[in-house]
Amino acid sequence: MSPANGNSARAISSAAPGESTVGEGTVSRARIDRLRHSMPGGDSLLDELIDLFVLDLPTRLSAIAQAIERADAPDLALQAHALRGGAANFGACHLDELCGKLEQIGVRDALAEASAILDPLGRESAQVRDALLALKSNHLDTPDGASPLSHRSRPV
């Protein structure tokens, strides 16, 4: 893995064994390394997973915002759960935590609490996206998260 640089570097936690990234970094290097080394062809797979996450991110954020707007609590829970699942794979703990809160809000049907989380969610998502793109083995960063998908695009 090449070391990341610039702003993205600050977003990557190097707290390896414990993987505790909350408050320290946006994604977990240890978690990502483990993912990379758990399967043959880990580099290209990791790039592919990052691409899938980054591609999916705007759609999920938009779906979460719409669910809040529509006051559709079950859909909010589902959308937040799905985004949370993807984020957890990269050790994006803060994003995971925010999604978890939204998921619970959806489950409890307490939508009044949701709007306050939207802004932090947007900011954290952007940081996670940037951190992940910086981690890609070929460093194909793009300014707005529309990362060029190298292999495949899959319907969500």
Binding site: R31, E48, L52, D56, R84, G85, A88, N89
Partner: protein
């Protein structure tokens, strides 16, 4: 053998991660976005293991688990829950999940759980098959083969079992065609995989096609779900197509295509499926004669007749009669904890009888005698075959070599048998078996009445095993046995 795995997940990262983690050349993986999609995929093509998120749109993981278990009880389903969500994990296991993994998923953990599920599935399958084998019917030492012809036959079966070629078994009814087909399977390296037997004559042609090739959901009225056919169910194993001589010319063409191409097309389906099945066909008529008469396709006949086996009627291998009779008697007596023998005259009577119903008739006669007798020695009075037994039939004009590739003229035997049956019927003697069965049935009914329907006690009082009692009742369809009570107080299974 290919294992099929369904991954049910609604986020693209996990879909791809799970797919990559579980990829293997021996596995086929299908990805579904939610439970409803997964259920449809499962109905199209069943899976060996399902890995599903617990929280999804449309149909949640626990509901999917329930639906899948309704279709295939015990299907291994691994549910994916959030790390730290103890209640979800407990709910998953209580609902019958095979196991669970937590998100974020550790690749090795997922791989191990899926491997274990597949191994368990395979072990259960093999265990079922081996249990059947252990039941003793198909062990090499349990087959009665006293005559030279029968010993040659067993030697032939042992040799051909190792190959994967199609086998055509011909012989009169009751000569043991299904037993030989099972031996071909159980003595082959396909043991542990399914043995599926289908009687082609038992189905209307439209039903037979669906039964053998399967159908897709909505293929016809009443096809509410997709269903595997016998070819798919016998995957990796052996398929016995009994009464093959009775299928229509149209169906012969369809079957020929399947055998030639090695793939089946479900009714209403568009994608052929590869099959790996050893086909054993059986018939009590002469396929060669049917080919000559234009009633059976020659190309299909040659496709089926790669290894021909001709089973001799019992009257042409008389050395087997007493060995078989003693084998049946020993088994049925052992079930009752007794030791029973045949007296000399009874043995002579068995040898004298012409056995038009072959081994099946012999087994029934012994079973009936066991039910009727009160002693431990079976006499002619218990067999009561004298009115059916005529002089020994003339030996066949030419012995039929069982290991000869040329099919024997079995039609002549069948015709002889039919003639004899007609003659017996004309003389009124054909009803004797039924009369004797009825007498045995009445004795069982009296015993059941005395024990207020307790079958175990009735069997004990009759001095027969419960299995013999049940077999007899099943054979007669309970028609001759008026059971005094539906519920059976004190019944012990």
């Amino acid at each position: 053998m290919t294992h099929r795995i369904l991954i049910v997940e609604d986020n693209a990262v996990d879909q791809r991660l799970f797919e990559q983690a579980l990829s293997d050349p021996t596995r086929e993986i299908e990805i579904c976005n939610d439970g409803r999609e997964a259920l449809a995929a499962f109905e199209r093509h069943a899976a060996d293991v399902v890995v599903s998120d617990i929280m999804m749109p449309n149909m949640e993981g626990l509901e999917l688990l329930d639906e899948l278990h309704r279709r295939v009880p015990g299907l291994p389903v691994i549910l994916v829950t959030r790390f730290g969500s103890i209640s979800a994990a407990v709910a998953a296991m209580q609902a019958g999940a095979f196991d669970y993994v937590t998100k974020p998923v550790e690749v090795f953990e997922l791989q191990t759980r899926v491997k274990r599920a597949l191994e368990l599935d395979q072990l259960q399958h093999e265990n079922d098959t081996l249990r059947q084998e252990l039941a003793g019917r198909f062990g090499p030492d349990s087959v009665v083969a006293e005559s030279i012809d029968s010993r040659k036959l067993m030697e032939l079966v042992r040799r051909i079992a190792a190959s994967h070629s199609t086998v055509l078994i011909q012989g009169e009814s009751g000569t043991g065609k299904e037993l030989v087909a099972r031996l071909v399977h159980y003595w082959s390296d396909r043991v542990g995989r399914p043995f599926v037997a289908v009687n082609c004559k038992a189905f209307a042609e439209s039903v037979l096609e669906s039964e053998l090739f399967g159908h897709e959901k909505g293929a016809f009225t009443g096809a509410i779900a997709a269903r595997q056919g016998c070819f798919e169910r016998a995957s990796g194993g052996t398929l016995l197509l009994d009464e093959i001589g009775d299928i229509s010319p149209e169906f012969q063409a369809k079957l020929l295509r399947v055998l030639q191409e090695g793939e089946v097309l479900r009714v209403g389906g568009s994608e052929p499926r590869r099959i790996n099945v050893r086909v054993v066909a059986a018939t009590n008529s002469s396929l060669q004669a049917k080919v000559a008469a234009g009633r059976f396709r020659e190309d299909l006949y040659f496709r089926l007749n790669v290894i021909p086996i001709q089973l001799l009627p019992l009257r042409e291998r008389r050395e087997d009669i007493l060995a078989l009779a003693r084998n049946f008697l020993a088994r049925m007596a052992a079930e009752a904890g007794r030791h029973m023998t045949l007296d000399l005259e009874a043995a002579e009577m068995l040898l004298r009888h012409s056995w038009p119903g072959n081994v099946r008739e012999l087994e029934n006669a012994i079973e009936r005698a066991v039910v009727l007798t009160r002693a431990d020695i079976i006499t002619t009075a218990d067999l009561m075959l004298d009115r059916l037994s005529g002089p020994l039939p003339a030996p066949p004009a030419a012995a039929i070599p069982i290991d000869n590739a040329t099919p024997a003229p079995a039609m002549n035997e069948a015709e002889q048998r039919a003639q004899r049956a007609t003659a017996l019927e004309d003389s009124g003697d054909v009803g004797l078996s039924e009369y004797l069965d009825k007498a045995a049935g009445e004795r069982i009914a009296r015993a059941l009445a005395k024990t207020k329907g307790n079958r175990a006690e009735a069997a004990r009082n009759l001095g027969i095993g419960r299995a013999t009692l049940y077999r007899f009742m099943r054979r007669l369809g309970n028609e001759s046995i008026a059971e005094p009570h539906d519920n059976e107080p004190g019944e012990r299974q």
